[in-house]
C-alpha cells in the first residue's frame, strides 16, 4: 500500500486552473485552494473514494479559514480555503458528501458562513430561540454570550412532514422518561411503521469551542476531557496529541503505553455498559444487571489504580499524570483474567437466548452503502463492513508497536453492533496485557515547549466510539486560539435516521442504543 500514490494521482487530475498550495499541518498534508474550487475538489475527492472526515471553520483577522479533512488508505488530507468576513460565501461540499451536511450547518450557525447550494440550510446547532445574526464563534462575540433571560421555546423548526391517510407524527424528547441526554426525535409513522425520522440535536450545546479560546494547554486538556463524559480519555488524548504535534513535544514511551491502557480501559467499560443496555431495551434485564456489575468492578479498579472511575484528567499535554506500579499492573492483569471468565459465561447465556436473538437480528439494518456515504465510524461502521480503525491504519504511539486486530461484521444489524462490541472488548483486553508487558521504565511526562504563535496540530485517535479528530491552533504566549473536537457521533447520528427506516416505532429505542451516539459530543 503505497500511500502517497493517490495524492499525486489526485493532484495531476486537478488541472492547471486550480492552483494548490501544498504544505503540512504537523504531520498531515495540507492543501490550500481557492474558494471557487471548493466544491470541485470535493467532487473529485468522491471520484477518488476519499472519506470525508471532518469540517470546521475559524475566524482569523478579516477572514474565515474553512477546513475539510479527508482520508484514504490511512492517510489524511486537510483542505483549506479562505473567505472574506464581510460576505462569507462558499459552495457546499454536502452536495456530494452527505457526511458534511451537519458540519457545514454548524459552521453556518456559528460563523454566519453561507454555504451556497447546500441541500438543507436550516439551522442546526443554534436553535431558533437564539438571536438572529449573532455568531458565537466570531471573535467579536463575547465569551459570556448575550443572555436574553428566559429562552423562548424552540417551536418553529421546519420538520419534514408526512402526508396521507393514517400518517401521524410522534414527537419524542428532548426530555425523556428515562435519565438520558436530551435530544428530540420527530417520527412520521403510519401504524407502527416508521416512514421518516428526523433528529433535532443541539440541546447540550455548551460552547466548548468558544470557551476553549485563550486557554493554556493543561486547561484545554481538561476541557477536552469534558466534551463527552463517556469519552473523556479519547477526547483528552486527541486534544493533547494535537497540542503535542503543534508544539513538537514527544511523549515518553512509558506515557504512550499508559495512554494506550487508559484508552482501552475506557473502551471496555463503555462496551460492557452498552451490551447490557441493548439487552435492557428489549426488556432482557438479566444481561443488563450482569454487565452493569462487571462494568462497576472495572470502574472501581480504575478508581484504585488511576484515582478516577472514568479516568478523567489522567492524560495531560506531554504525557500522563498517573504512573503504574507493579502492584497496579498485577491488579489489572488479575481483573482481566476474571472479566474474561465471567464474560464468557454471560455471553454464552446471551448467545443461546432465542428471544434475544429474535429481537437483535435483522433489526436496525444499516447497509454498507449508507454506512460508507455517511462515513460512519467505530463499531457502527465496522458492523456494516467499514473496515477502518485509526489504531491499525494510521497508528500512533503506542499502537505502532503492536498489531491491532480489527473486528469486522457486514450484516449491519443490531446483532452485528452487539457482537462487534464483544469482540472489541476481547481485543482491548489483549491490548492492555500487551502494553503492560511492554511497559518500559522512564518518565511519564515530557517538558512542555511553548509553541510558536500560529502553530497548528491535528490529533487523530481511535476513541471507543471511533475516530476522534481534534484540531488546535495556538496563539502567542502558549494560549489556544482555536479548538475543534470532532466526536465520531457527529458522523454516526445521521446513520440512525436511515437505519430505523422500515422498522417499527417500538424498535426505535434498541436501534438507537445499538448506535449510542453522544449528544454532548455532537452538540459541543
Amino acid at each position: 500500500m503505497s500511500s502517497s500514490n493517490w495524492t499525486a494521482d489526485f493532484l495531476s487530475q486537478l488541472g492547471r486552473d486550480t492552483p494548490v498550495a501544498e504544505s503540512t499541518v504537523a504531520a498531515t498534508r495540507l492543501w490550500q485552494i481557492d474558494s471557487q474550487a471548493w466544491q470541485q475538489l470535493a467532487e473529485l475527492a468522491v471520484v477518488h473514494k476519499l472519506r470525508w472526515v471532518a469540517g470546521w471553520a475559524e475566524h482569523v483577522d478579516k477572514q474565515f479559514l474553512i477546513n475539510s479533512c479527508f482520508e484514504k488508505q490511512g492517510e489524511y488530507l486537510l483542505l483549506r480555503t479562505t473567505v472574506d468576513v464581510v460576505s462569507p460565501e462558499l459552495p457546499s461540499q454536502a452536495t456530494v458528501y452527505p457526511a458534511a451536511n451537519r458540519s457545514e450547518r454548524h459552521s453556518q450557525d456559528m460563523f454566519g458562513i453561507k454555504f451556497t447550494s447546500h441541500p438543507d440550510n436550516r439551522r442546526w446547532t443554534r436553535h431558533q430561540a437564539w438571536i438572529e445574526n449573532s455568531y458565537p464563534l466570531r471573535k467579536d462575540f463575547p465569551v459570556q454570550g448575550s443572555p436574553v433571560g428566559v429562552t423562548p421555546p424552540d417551536m418553529h423548526y421546519p420538520f419534514i412532514k408526512g402526508h396521507g391517510a393514517g400518517v401521524y407524527e410522534i414527537p419524542v424528547g428532548p426530555v425523556h422518561a428515562g435519565i438520558i441526554e436530551p435530544g428530540h426525535f420527530r417520527f412520521q409513522a403510519v401504524g407502527e411503521l416508521i416512514l421518516n425520522l428526523e433528529e433535532r440535536l443541539g440541546y447540550v450545546h455548551k460552547g466548548i469551542e468558544k470557551i476553549a479560546e485563550g486557554r493554556t494547554p493543561e486547561s484545554l486538556g481538561r476541557l477536552a476531557g469534558r466534551v463527552s463524559g463517556d469519552t473523556t480519555v479519547g477526547h483528552c488524548w486527541a486534544a493533547c496529541r494535537a497540542m503535542e504535534l503543534a508544539a513538537g513535544v514527544e511523549i515518553p514511551p512509558r506515557a504512550a503505553l499508559i495512554r494506550g491502557i487508559l484508552a482501552e480501559r475506557e473502551r471496555v467499560a463503555n462496551h460492557l455498559g452498552d451490551i447490557g443496555a441493548i439487552c435492557n431495551d428489549v426488556a432482557f434485564v438479566f444481561a443488563q444487571m450482569q454487565m452493569t456489575r462487571l462494568r462497576e468492578l472495572w470502574l472501581r479498579t480504575n478508581a484504585t489504580v488511576f484515582g478516577h472511575r472514568l479516568l478523567m484528567d489522567a492524560i495531560v499535554p506531554g504525557g500522563v499524570v498517573c504512573d503504574l506500579s507493579d502492584v497496579a499492573c498485577s491488579l489489572i492483569k488479575k481483573d482481566i483474567a476474571e472479566l474474561r471468565t465471567e464474560l464468557t459465561e454471560i455471553i454464552t447465556a446471551l448467545d443461546l437466548n432465542t428471544s434475544l436473538e429474535d429481537r437483535l437480528y435483522t433489526a436496525g439494518f444499516l447497509s454498507e452503502d449508507i454506512a460508507k456515504a455517511f462515513g460512519t465510524l467505530g463499531y457502527v461502521g465496522r458492523a456494516s463492513g467499514q473496515d477502518f480503525d485509526v489504531r491499525r491504519d494510521t497508528p500512533y504511539p503506542p499502537y505502532d508497536q503492536v498489531k491491532v486486530k480489527v473486528a469486522l461484521e457486514n450484516q449491519g444489524d443490531i446483532a452485528s453492533r452487539f457482537w462487534i462490541r464483544y469482540k472489541e472488548i476481547r481485543t482491548a483486553l489483549a491490548l492492555i496485557e500487551k502494553f503492560i508487558a511492554q511497559l518500559v521504565a522512564g518518565d511519564i511526562c515530557s517538558d512542555w515547549k511553548i509553541p510558536p504563535s500560529g502553530s497548528e496540530g491535528l490529533g487523530i485517535v481511535e476513541g471507543w466510539r471511533g475516530e476522534i479528530v481534534s484540531y488546535i491552533r495556538f496563539a502567542a504566549d502558549n494560549k489556544v486560539a482555536r479548538f475543534y473536537p470532532r466526536d465520531p457521533s457527529q458522523l454516526n447520528w445521521p446513520a440512525l435516521e436511515k437505519l430505523v427506516l422500515n422498522n417499527i416505532v417500538p424498535d426505535f429505542p434498541v436501534c438507537n442504543k445499538s448506535l449510542n451516539g453522544s449528544y454532548s459530543g455532537n452538540d459541543l
Partner: protein, 319 residues
C-alpha cells in the same frame, strides 16, 4: 335470612381482601425478579408505600384534559374491584358469583380497558394515543382467546358461574383432562398479555416508544396514578386467582366455617406466591417480543383455547 346476610358479608370481606392483598402480590413478584437478577430486592411491602406516597402527591392534570381524564381512574378502579367480587378467592358459593358469571367478568375487564384507552386518547399526546391503539389491538385478540379458554371450562362444568364451575372441578377430583391442559395454557398466555407482563409489555420500562400500558397512563400522577396502579395490581391478582382456583382449586373453602376460610386463605396465598415465582422466572428468561409478534402469540393462545374446546367435544363430552 341470617345466612343470606352472612354470605354477602363474606363476599364483601373477600373483595376487600382482594383489594388489600393485590399490592402484596405485586411486591412479591418484584422481589422474586430482583433476586433472579442477582439484585437486592426491596421489601415486599414497598408497593404499599409507593401507593401511599402517590396518594400524598398532588395530581397534575394537563390543561388539555377533559372530565374523562380525571374520572377514568375512579371508573377503572371500580370496574376492577367489581370484577374482583365475581372471582372466588378463598371460598366458593358466593352470592356475587351467582349474580354475575364469567362473561360479566370479561365484561368488567373490557369496561375498565375502554376507559383506560379513552383516557390515553383524551390527553392528546402522541404516546397516549399510541398506547391506546396498541392496547386495543392486543385486547381484541386476547379477549376471544380468553373466552375460548373459559368456554372450554364452562362446557365441562355446564355452567358459566365461576363458583359452580370450581365446585364441579373439586367434585370431579384430580382427573387429567386434555381440554383443561389446553385451556390452562391458553389462559396463562392471555393473562401474561392482559396484565402487561414480559414478553408482551414491560411494566418497568422507561422507554416511551416501547410502552403499551404505561404509555396510556404516562400523564397520570398523584392519587389518579395510585388508583390506576392499584387497579393493574388487582388485575394481575385476578388473573392469578382465576388460574389458581379454576385449574387447581384444592384448598378453597367449601363451607363458611372459620377453619375452612383460614385454610382457603393460606392455600390461595401459597398458590399465588408459586404462580408469581414462575412468572418471575419466565420474565427473567425471555426478552420482550417485537410488537408485531404479539398477534402470533395471541393467535396461538386462541388456537390452544380452540383445541381445548375441540378436545372436550371429541374426547370428553361423549362420555
Amino acid at each position: 335470612m341470617g345466612d343470606q346476610l352472612m354470605n354477602w358479608l363474606i363476599a364483601i370481606l373477600q373483595t376487600m381482601l382482594f383489594v388489600a392483598l393485590s399490592p402484596l402480590l405485586a411486591g412479591w413478584l418484584k422481589c422474586c425478579k430482583c433476586r433472579l437478577q442477582n439484585r437486592k430486592a426491596p421489601s415486599i411491602f414497598q408497593t404499599y408505600r409507593d401507593l401511599l406516597k402517590l396518594t400524598h402527591k398532588q395530581p397534575v392534570v394537563s390543561d388539555q384534559a377533559s372530565w374523562l381524564f380525571v374520572l377514568a381512574p375512579y371508573i377503572i378502579f371500580s370496574a376492577t374491584v367489581l370484577a374482583a367480587t365475581v372471582v372466588p378467592l378463598i371460598t366458593v358459593d358466593l352470592p356475587t358469583s351467582a349474580s354475575a358469571d364469567v362473561i360479566v367478568l370479561v365484561g368488567f375487564f373490557a369496561f375498565a380497558r375502554f376507559f383506560l384507552a379513552l383516557a390515553g386518547l383524551d390527553i392528546g399526546t402522541a404516546f397516549g394515543g399510541m398506547g391506546s391503539s396498541r392496547e386495543m389491538t392486543i385486547s381484541s385478540l386476547a379477549e376471544p382467546a380468553m373466552l375460548m379458554a373459559i368456554f372450554t371450562l364452562t362446557m365441562t362444568a355446564s355452567t358459566t358461574n365461576l363458583s359452580f364451575a370450581i365446585a364441579h372441578v373439586l367434585n370431579e377430583g384430580l382427573v387429567l383432562r386434555p381440554s383443561f391442559v389446553f385451556a390452562l395454557s391458553a389462559l396463562i398466555l392471555v393473562a401474561v398479555a392482559e396484565t402487561g407482563r414480559i414478553p408482551v409489555d414491560n411494566p418497568a420500562t422507561h422507554l416511551e416508544l416501547t410502552m403499551i400500558h404505561e404509555a396510556m397512563i404516562l400523564e397520570y400522577s398523584g392519587r389518579h396514578l395510585a388508583l390506576i396502579e392499584w387497579a393493574s395490581q388487582l388485575k394481575l391478582m385476578l388473573y392469578g386467582v382465576l388460574i389458581a382456583n379454576i385449574f387447581f382449586p384444592w384448598g378453597i373453602a367449601e363451607t363458611f366455617s372459620l377453619q375452612d376460610l383460614a385454610y382457603g386463605l393460606l392455600a390461595i396465598i401459597g398458590k399465588l406466591a408459586l404462580l408469581a415465582f414462575f412468572l418471575a422466572i419466565a420474565e427473567t428468561f425471555v426478552a420482550k417480543m417485537r410488537l408485531f409478534r404479539v398477534q402470533e402469540y395471541l393467535s396461538f393462545a386462541y388456537l390452544l383455547g380452540l383445541l381445548g374446546m375441540l378436545s372436550h367435544i371429541i374426547l370428553e363430552a361423549s362420555r
